[in-house]
Amino acid sequence: MQAITGFCWLPALFLQAAPERLLHLSSVDIAIVAIYFLAVLGIGFYLKSYTKTGEDFFMAGREMTAWVAGLSFLAANLGSLELMGWAGNAYQYGILAAHWYWVGAIPAMLFLAIVMIPFYYISKTHSVPGYLKLRFGEPARALSAISFGFMTVLMSGINMYAMAVVLKVVLGWDIYFSIWVSSITVALYVTLGGLLSAIFNEVLQFVLIWLGALLISIIGLIEAGGWSGMVARIHTNFPSQDFTHLWSTLGSFQDNPMGINWVGIVFGLGAVISMGYWTTDFLVVQRVISAKDLRSAKLAPLIGAAFKMCVPFIVILPGLLGLAMLDTPGHHFLVAGNVAAAALEKGQVLHSYDEVLPIMLARYCGPGLMGLGITALIAGFMSGMAGNVSAFATVWTYDIYRAMIRKDATDQHYVTMGRWCTIGGVLVSIGTAYLALHSNSIMDYVQELFSFFIAPLFGTVLLGMLWKRATGPGGFWGLLCGTGSAIGMWAWVRSNPAASQYIALSPYAKPQAENMFRALWSAMVCVLVTVVVSLLTKPRSDKELVGLVYGCTEIPSEGHLPLWQRPIFWAGVVAAAFVVIQIIFW
């Protein structure tokens, strides 16, 4: 959930300059990073000859296996600043940060696989705005496509800038050098091979992220004396705070370091934000609908969910290990970003929460392994950026250019447009990165704005798929009012911080709680307006809704398959594992 999660920690990182590099690379480390760049470019050049038609370029030919689509689905999300940001959050908030990987992801992925994918797949749409066009008509598609396209390239640029800052802080690399090298690399391999190249590289990046980051947790646990040893050390360091329980501290806002309660986590995060992101953000949905058949498309999110449940092992655990091994009784080794920045002005070097992952990397990894760890970070950044750019190219070409500017061009023309659009998207992203360089507040605003579109869009798509009485005007006005209400609530709190207590229903609520409740209200506004307007307008006939809505669409039966080949069986397995994990870490 890069757009949603990023803003909670990014300002801290951006406040910092780079007094000195955190890590030093040996020649073998540099060789490992250089070989990675050559590999992703080589794959792009190799796949160019396989992307000739629009279906090839924008939908990877709809030939991906469940494994490739599933890993790419997850890698597109793992990208950006996910790794460092959530490791920093785990250091700050403890295991509560894992909610964004478990209740904030798994139920939504299962829902996508079992309930929503059949409609995306059977309708043969090429995008989420494309589905809205089929279901609600052109106005809903236009609103969704323009907001998605606009925000996606802005987000891509901001993430690119964030990556450059990280590389400057961690390695001492020049910001402009990092921005241009990484963006040109991504632009080249996506322009050459389209979604196919993006997906193939995302699978490669997924493997590298795991192999590069896994060792930190393994050696860290050895040093801490296993899980129980780590927990004992954290309790010794901070006896008055609970960093190691997932649910038992969520009874009230005051009982946990995140300042949130279970209502915000379950309903705001689990039922709205996470559902909205994983089921309607085209960045991730695009990977799933590129699968070769409906069964593979349903299995892909399930494979992604199984791995997503394990990601805390490489992201959250290093943060917890930092609490155990870096800290001393009653004293945090790392500080908030603004504290580090203030100290720097006085010539004192302090490290911020968000640097916990590279600090743990330097603690456990020598030459060679250090290069692999840095490659994992860079791979994460690039997979997220490629995901944004490839999704933008599809939405721009099919949902904006073809729908509003040139409706009857040849397939080859749209492929060419997609390639130019990829380059254009990267250039706009670079422009945004330069803008962020001069105004950190713009970066914060865009990150939050992006999250506003997610929750209402989920309400619109869900009603569209499950309620055949929903009409075109209902879908459009619901989406517009839901988004407008989210922006209104955000502006209200910006102008009057005390308003946060009315949105999050508690004077003790912290920003994270406000985000969750704002999403909840905006989704409810969207649903309410959609229902009211739909009931006041004329519905479409059942015949027009075939392939788009539950009750009007025949979903192919899987009854003839052995149990272990059915997606519903694996959804049950993942759900059971999810419940067991919640109980273990309760």
């Binding site: 080589g42 190799y46 490739v68 603690r363 020598g366 060679g368 692999l372």
Partner: protein
């Protein structure tokens, strides 16, 4: 089309050789000041060997011309 798993195997093979080689070199030429915690585990050697083994397996299983 060559399988993506073949490319992954190739990259892991190269990384395995580099990291294993680096680990062996450091084993015989330890730095004067050791900054890595638990350096006596020689993680680069066994992690490099693991990458190398995975690389060989993937390259063999997904090499061009062999069905899956």
């Amino acid at each position: 089309m060559i399988s993506i798993w073949f490319f992954i195997g190739l990259l892991l093979l190269i990384y395995g050789v580099l990291i294993l080689g680096s680990g062996i070199y450091e084993y015989y030429n330890p730095p004067a000041v050791q900054t890595v915690v638990l350096s006596d585990l020689h993680a680069a050697i066994w992690w490099g060997a693991l990458l190398l083994a995975l690389g060989v397996i993937y390259i063999t299983k997904f090499r061009p011309g062999r069905n899956g």
